[in-house]
Amino acid sequence: MIQINELTKVYKLTKKQMMEKKTKKNMVKAVDKLSLTARPGEIYGLLGPNGAGKTTALRCIASLLKPTQGNIKVKGYDTVEDSQSVRKTIGFLTNEIKLDPQFSPRYMFGFFGRLHGLDERVIEERREELFDYFGIKDFQDKKIEELSSGMKQKASLAVSLVHNPEVIIFDEPTSGLDIITARNVTDYLKHLRDEGRTVIISTHIMTEAEKLCDRIGIIINGVLVLEGTLTEILDRTNTKDLEDAFFELYKIHNKEEE
């Protein structure tokens, strides 16, 4: 379970960043009083435009960033007080975090397995299962730098799941993948949900969110503007699909911000 309570994350800007953003404010609020709960056995989708604060929120859940205000509990562990336990519990995937290009997927899988304290037998079993599922075996001994972006993404996915985590946090997990592999990934996420894991993903692909997520949270300018099942969101916004609902909400809340 992931419980986010009143999460606010403020970034302090350097002078250079202020000039780049053409602002006189030296602070920027990436996430503003975000509260949500992702339960075991569900896939929670965080939906929002670029720069809405999705990645920041996920990084806070993964204990990579500390909340400026509020707190987050992952399986009961506080992300600030007990970050090591949090990192033991989660499998985190984002495009910005990469595997060492000089090593093979097999080596990196073993390396992170050992960092998670797994013994060689368990690592081997997990490798067999995940590499087979994601079709990595054909290129498992090639250097990561020699792989296509889709192959790299598959390898990163497998590595993030090496320790069989109870909580899965994926930032745009199907980004850069072909349609077959993307389906593979979403099927695997469903499989994890069915096993009772907590899954939270961020995406801006509406159809993916519609098909995959049990509940969706729409985040605009760092604020969670609406949360619920697909049906609840469509009812509340009086729209036919998620894309329409999203644009409806975006019009209202982006205007408020301006």
Binding site: Q84, K98, L115
Partner: protein, 405 residues
């Protein structure tokens, strides 16, 4: 510390499974250093032989009659042209300037008559003037050889003629057997040359090694986004820091050993045996332990210095800019030892990081490093390195440093 062990293993695997990196990091610099010094040595030797075998072109004006006899007697070889006082010397001086002519020797007119008519103090003394070009090796050598062999011999012969017995001029000898008067500690004397050179080389090589490897292992990984994947694993940040520092330390030590050996071997070739004495250096077991501990602590300090810069830098380019002043600082500390007289230094100097590393190594090589000085040096270096490590761990915990957040 399982995490540290895994990271060290991974970092070493990363380097040693990359053939290009191994060649560029360890093999090529070592070979190039040796080749460079060997070429320099052979060129210098060739140059010296060339100067020695060169037959100088010399013009002598107003040469006394018996000078020819002296030149033959001392076996001086040269293309000698004799000119009279009526001949102009302008074109000869131009030739010396251009390097076509090596030497012009002008004897005063009536040179030999003036010498022979000398009776008492105040009587005129004639002069021999030599014109040469100090920037031309041939000219320089011609002047030196002609003065030392021909003119000196000629002067002695004329003195003998004037006094009858030249030994009258010798009232006492100074050190007829110079070797017998030398009282020296062989080991200290042998270490003297090395003590001037090696502390500088070791420190510079250690820092250079740490610099090349540290920036890629930390800033490079930060830039590539691969460090963040490690930060996500359930190990303490300090384990990651120690994993990085230990692996960097091992690789730095290895490259420093290779570089230092290459430089020493290269210089030995360059000096063409002049440093042969250094092979006679013998260390006591205590000195060996001292040297080992000193090198370990120095590696720790330099790796941590480079790492702190690498952690804070956003790009490798930025890291390169930040690390340069530190490199200059290390060079400065070491250069100061190269030009010191080597007298006993006060204990406080052994507490100044970097400088103390160089002076303690210098003392160690001449067998003068006391346990107190060794302790102060190692303690001070270790404390600074530990403080920097604490800062690195803090930086690894900082989201601003790690994620530019």
């Amino acid at each position: 510390m399982k995490g540290t062990k895994n990271i060290v293993k991974k970092e070493l695997t990363r380097v040693f499974t990359d053939k290009k990196l191994v060649i560029n990091l360890f093999v090529l610099p070592g070979v190039l250093i040796m080749v460079m010094y060997s070429i320099m040595g052979s060129l210098i030797s060739k140059m010296e032989t060339d100067i020695k075998t060169h037959i100088p072109t010399i013009y002598i004006q107003n040469a006394p009659e018996d000078l020819d006899y002296i030149i033959d007697a001392v076996d001086f070889e040269g293309n000698i042209t004799y000119i009279s006082s009526k001949d102009s010397t302008t074109h000869i001086k131009d030739g010396i300037l251009k390097g076509d002519i090596d030497l012009l020797v002008i004897f005063d007119e009536g040179f030999i008559e003036t010498i022979r008519s000398y009776k008492d103090v105040g009587d005129p003394i004639p002069e021999v003037r030599t014109y040469y070009n100090p920037s031309e090796d041939y000219s320089n050598a011609a002047k030196g050889n002609f003065t030392a062999s021909v003119l000196h011999a000629y002067q002695q012969s004329l003195l003998a003629e004037r006094l009858g017995n030249i030994e009258q001029l010798q009232v006492f000898y100074i050190d007829r057997d110079p070797e017998a008067g030398i009282i020296v500690d062989e080991s200290k004397a042998n270490g003297k040359f090395l003590s001037m050179l090696l502390p500088f080389l070791i420190n510079i090589m250690l820092f250079q090694g740490a610099m090349g490897l540290g920036m890629d292992a930390i800033t490079g990984e930060k830039e590539r986004g691969t460090l963040a994947s490690m930060l996500l694993s359930p190990i303490k940040r300090s384990e990651i820091v120690f994993g990085k520092l230990i692996s960097l330390g091992i690789l730095t030590s290895l490259s420093a050993v290779i570089y230092t050996v290459s430089v020493v071997v290269g210089i030995q070739r360059l000096a063409d045996g002049a440093m042969g004495a250094m092979t006679n250096i013998q260390f006591t077991p205590v000195q060996i332990v001292q040297l080992f501990v000193m090198l370990i602590v120095l590696v720790y300090l330099y790796v941590s210095m480079v790492s702190i810069v690498a952690v804070y830098a956003r790009t490798q380019k930025e890291a390169g800019t930040y690390v340069s002043p530190l490199y200059i600082l290390v060079m400065l500390g070491c250069i100061m030892t190269m030009f010191s007289t080597g007298g006993v230094k006060e204990l406080k100097y052994y507490a100044i990081p970097i400088y103390n590393g160089a002076i303690a190594l210098q003392d160690l090589l001449v067998g003068e490093l006391t346990m107190v000085k060794f302790g102060v040096t190692v303690g001070s270096l270790a404390i600074v390195a530990f403080l920097i490590t604490t800062l690195i761990t803090k930086a690894f915990n900082s989201e601003r440093v790690m994620f530019n957040a």
